[in-house]
Symmetry: C2
Subunit: 399 residues, 2 copies
Amino acid sequence: MQPIRQRVTVDFAYDVHFTEQLFHPDNPLLAHTIHRPDEPGSKKAVAVIDDGLIAHWPDLLDKLDGYARVHSEVMTWAAEPVVVPGGEAAKNDPALVDRIHRTVYEAHLDRHAYVLAIGGGAVLDLAGYAAATAHRGIRLIRVPTTALAPNDAGVGVKKGINAVGTKNFLGTFAPPTAVLNDTAFLQTLDDRDWRAGIAEAIKVALIKDVDFFAQLEQVAAGLAPSTRDLAAMEAVNERCAELHLEHIAASGDPFEMGSSRPLDFGHWAAHKLEELTGYALRHGEAVAIGIALDCVYAHLDGRLDEMSLQAILDLMDTLGFELYVPELDAHLDEPDHPRCLFQGLDAFREHLGGELTIMLIDAIGHGVDVHAVDRDRYRDAVRYLRSRHERTHRPEQVG
Amino acid sequence: MQPIRQRVTVDFAYDVHFTEQLFHPDNPLLAHTIHRPDEPGSKKAVAVIDDGLIAHWPDLLDKLDGYARVHSEVMTWAAEPVVVPGGEAAKNDPALVDRIHRTVYEAHLDRHAYVLAIGGGAVLDLAGYAAATAHRGIRLIRVPTTALAPNDAGVGVKKGINAVGTKNFLGTFAPPTAVLNDTAFLQTLDDRDWRAGIAEAIKVALIKDVDFFAQLEQVAAGLAPSTRDLAAMEAVNERCAELHLEHIAASGDPFEMGSSRPLDFGHWAAHKLEELTGYALRHGEAVAIGIALDCVYAHLDGRLDEMSLQAILDLMDTLGFELYVPELDAHLDEPDHPRCLFQGLDAFREHLGGELTIMLIDAIGHGVDVHAVDRDRYRDAVRYLRSRHERTHRPEQVG
């Protein structure tokens, strides 16, 4: 007998805003985002906050309280904020997911209530995963506070936490209700976090947009942590968010059910290096190394010309990225060793499913999918980065 | 500045099949479902199986092995089957979710691999939730083995497990890859499970389709557990699945992000009764009571005529449903008591979000949304069911 053929189309819509002083009582953006004319009454909300942020913004909790007091017709805090560790620790501890679930339960949040996630990418991922699974999905407003904001964790449609020792092993696809960027938060980033965020901008420029790469080169000195040109960073963030959002919307497969690819250039090695360093490397720092590695490989493989490669590596140098860590080649000749970099290739394929697909570039601004790699050439690429690193870091000896 | 407006459309497609002897090596359905011409190679799969099933079908594991041997070019079992308790126990134990996640990890299932969930609604929910969250979603094939199959757990787009003492507190929206019904499994259901499944058919008939209700009346004697007309049950299952699938596809909001309603007639009381009886009531048994309660209420409220009400209660009697349990009125006059039935109204509103919305009927085949209820009248409805029950169960005393 004939099957019943089910076709279901789901439309998601969300706006990505850039503002300043998001929690100033006179800034209507958050209240406007929460208010829906067809849903009367004050909406319950719970904030999940990156503890690193509170150190820099000690009045943040008071501001949140004050905002809800002024906008009490629109929103009500239904529980004390859930303050969680920032950085990858947020994604490594399943008890934090349970804590957010329990708060949702005890505060009687329903599916029309809001979780407001305020923090870096890891905290957004954690809070997003918890919100997406409670009651099959509570509304999520993301307030990204690091320069990594314009990437998937900030504006994308997926969230994930780490489990069984594997990055993002658990997760869902579930778009947010809105993304509200407050550029003021960028001011208090430490140098490493400020810099790390720029890696995702370099990534998307290299595979999508040569003009954006030129823009990055132009403002590189200003973007360096020692200078911190906030206006330049804002412009970079907005363009980066735009490119990520366009990619997701245009992919035809935003939930990656088939073989469509996320913007994961440089990420196969990056994810493995994060694990191998016990997450001592920030995600963006690992992505910078991953990008450098794949660009050197693309050059050695005859895909990318020497001048482009040097322009890419120069940009990273200007920004102060370190492009070599010993974990790159600690077990490079032992393919079965769990700490061999190449295990990252297998994990990457396994996570995405199907055939191995690595994105490389054949020119600045143009990504290409590659389904087979030459491991000896990758070993050469690691050696290239290592000797480049040694040249830079060991002053020439006399005599 | 203007926000970036993101619009994402996701299309889901899946087929619901009815077959017999699904795991007979000559039945190509499962292999056809797994095979995709654009994805070469034998696909990895792991089965999650309801342990109640294995008691009745002791050769099931051998059959699964044999099927994969014959169809080895298409599929490979990547791990031993995960056998889990059937019934609500499957959804109450978070360790079972972890066990499936760990199997997925150890068997190196990727996002193009398959979890094959074989069992009753609770096992389908458990396996579905675990599959939907591993790697942000592994493909799921559901093989419903109870007469509850044609309802949401079988053909729908959502899955949930119980947490913080609350039914379906955790879950996701994620459609399956396919649903393969093997009617042979219905033969070995015990009387309670056989009967329980029919409750969902009555539910959907009452709110959607007067002709389907007439069909149920016509075959009621055959559907009773003492008779077990398998062909009649198959026909009922198929129509029930069709109605559920149409509702989801036509809702315009299949992931219930706004205020669109699932097919939850009778379910506010049913979910509470399941909790109050410690899940001693099967889901379908609780749904039958919930439907009876809401129909009596609709009648007392002047919405539903007497003749229709009696036809509904008669149908349930013919099938052997018990329409009263003491948990209905144990704490009915103590609205704040956690074991008061009316707590189910609050929980129901909270789970779905927004305004309270209860579905009632004003005629057989026609549901109506109601946003306020009269609790005194509901107390009368409970008394009605109780005295009706006492009349049936206590033989008249002599003298």
